[in-house]
Amino acid sequence: MYSFEPNEEQQMLIDAVGKFASNDLRPAAHDAEENHAMPQKLVNKGWELGLLQASTPEAYGGFGDRSAITNVLAVEEMAFGDLAGALAVMTPSLFATPILLGGTEEQKQEYLPRIIEGAWAPYTGALIEYSFNFDPNELKTTANAEGGAYVLNGEKAFVPFAKDAEALIVYANLNGVTQGFIVKKEAAGLSISEEREKLMGLNALPMYRVKLENVTAERLGGASGHDFGLILDAMRVASAATALGVARSSLDYAKNYAKEREAFGVKIAQKQAVAFMLAEMAVELESMRLMTWEAAWKIDNNKEDSCVSAYLAFTGACDMAMMVTDRGVQIYGGHGYIRENPVELLMRNGRGFPMLLGLAIV
């Protein structure tokens, strides 16, 4: 069957996350960005909504099975509030979800219950590298098998909360294949930059460079490793879902502004040049929402071509987010360019999706 309506449980989740996004994250977004600080109180409140907990089986301290489609719905809602806030709330997933997808039974037992059952804690993941032509399937950070252990060398970028992290999943190139490795905070040879990353947007999210010099680490999935494709698919779909949230926020602001702002004796929304921009934004957004849903549904149903779908959804959503957030600023006119108004931050965030793959996972 085809069907395009969230089920009752999903709708309740959407409503709960949507309320938090609108009432808590959205009003805080501007100051968090300007002050380079996301209030921990907000992050904790978001964590208490229990997204990760709900997609972790009981055996590991959670209360449900992972559903990419349910997570996609929740992630869009969360990102509608604020991208940095959403990513901060969901940072522990960057560690827990790969373990869930590719970890050995021991790895799951060791890490999942303490993350799931506790308060929000900075467990994180490190995929991105600071290089031109960055490709998650051709990482420059290397892993070498030495005896029973693995030794990592290289540098990772844009690692959220790395400074305080208890442990992180570091992705590295093992004989040409990308694999995840569990690196603990105290590992010898691990160093984290003093300064935070300086980026065009996302300044409320503390991100760091991470250097690895002969760091000994445990391989995700043990000696036989894991299928990185599953993790990459989950990252692509998550990224697409955050793009939906950011774009929807811009459309929402622009629509309301256009209905208020007057020029030439009418509301600017009554001018086709503005109204058609809004219509096209809505069409693009809905197009990529359905692409994202389909990809997530394919992941949940183990469809063979889920990786192509996830790639297409991600690629399309990146373009969509740029187009929509650009027009959000355009519709605000000169006021859109001013940082007091919310749409310019959304445009800065909207440019980031192609390079921010790896900062969210469903």
Binding site: S3, N7, N133, Q272, A279, E286, S287, L290, M291, L312
Partner: protein, 419 residues
Amino acid sequence: MTIEFEAPKPIVQMNAMLKTVAENMMRSTSREMDENEHAIPWDYVEFMHSAMRSMGGGGGLTIAEEKPKEGAEKRPPIGYQKLASQIEMLAWGDVGFYLITPGGGLGAAAVAAAGSPEQKAKFLARFNDDKPTYAAMCMTEPGAGSDTSAIRARAVLDEKTNEWVINGEKIFVTGGDKSFNEYEKLGKGFIVVWASIDPSAGRSGMRAFVVESGTPGVKVTKLEHKLGIRASDTAAISLVDARVPFENVLGSPTVEKTTTGFKGAMATFDATRPLVAASGIGVARAALEFLKEKLEENGVKIRYGLPRTKLTSIEKDVIDMEIQLRSAWLLTLKAVWMADNKKSNALESSMSKVRAGDIVTKITQKAVEIMGPLGYSREFLLEKWFRDAKITDIYEGTGQINRMVVARQILGYTGAELR
């Protein structure tokens, strides 16, 4: 309810069958019909008519009422989804042929949307008769296209004979020839003509009238020569003192202060816009599949999964085309799924039409460009699909008109607030 993307089995089975029809009866004569505009591929017409009858539908490409087997679990309705999938598949074969698939087309859709139960019984049964039968819809006039409120056709009630007397000039009537003119091989069709019963009442004065084929005073005055969809007849029809029985008016015969008359037309469009989107998407899929096949023959493989910066420009184009095509189809599916589930879908219908109108023209244009001389040559059907695709953004509301519908819906504006 839940979110699911599994094509229902009946649709998959039906499409497998239609694909053979498309390959064997459409593609093989596509070029010939394109080069001989106004010729009729009778083999196709007759085959489709008997095939659809034997499948027990209402005749033609219509939405069959599903009768659940006794004791069987009640399944959600998929009539519109099935129809959209059929249309997409037939248009993949040849969209011009799809448009001359026997049946009620837009004419029957208007009766279904605005007619009484008696009218439906009277006018819709004929499509299941022995001979292929057609119906068409006449809204557009030389001076009134997008602005349907500007139509000048008039209908006046002759109280002595209890007949409507209709005068007007209609143009661009899809299937107008086969619906109105009498052919030995065809059953008796009709056209649905929009006219005003009270010009001072604006849109609320507009009504649709069923005009039977052969009605005196009505004449097909011209068959257009077109850029594409040349297997489909597009007729100009003039009505001079044409008389139709009183009971052939769809909707109320008197003018109230409401806009019921026009709402009938709009209800038709909510239902048919995603179907037009589906027909365009079929053409674009044909073009994209052809392109990928030819690229592969020439040693160009599309690598999925690479960052944009590592892709060739052809790979980027093809990947974008795939995203465009798939997303347009999903929007279309959502719109018809809503129709099946009796959810109001004015927004989604127009969204699917906006998207499809945009992307099917872009995809076919890009495909011709990438194929170079092979794309421009009439050796292949690609150049024809480029010409065929363009109509998607024009009929059943141009891209601009549908953008306006979408904008009004999201802004909560009336037609007066945004025009």
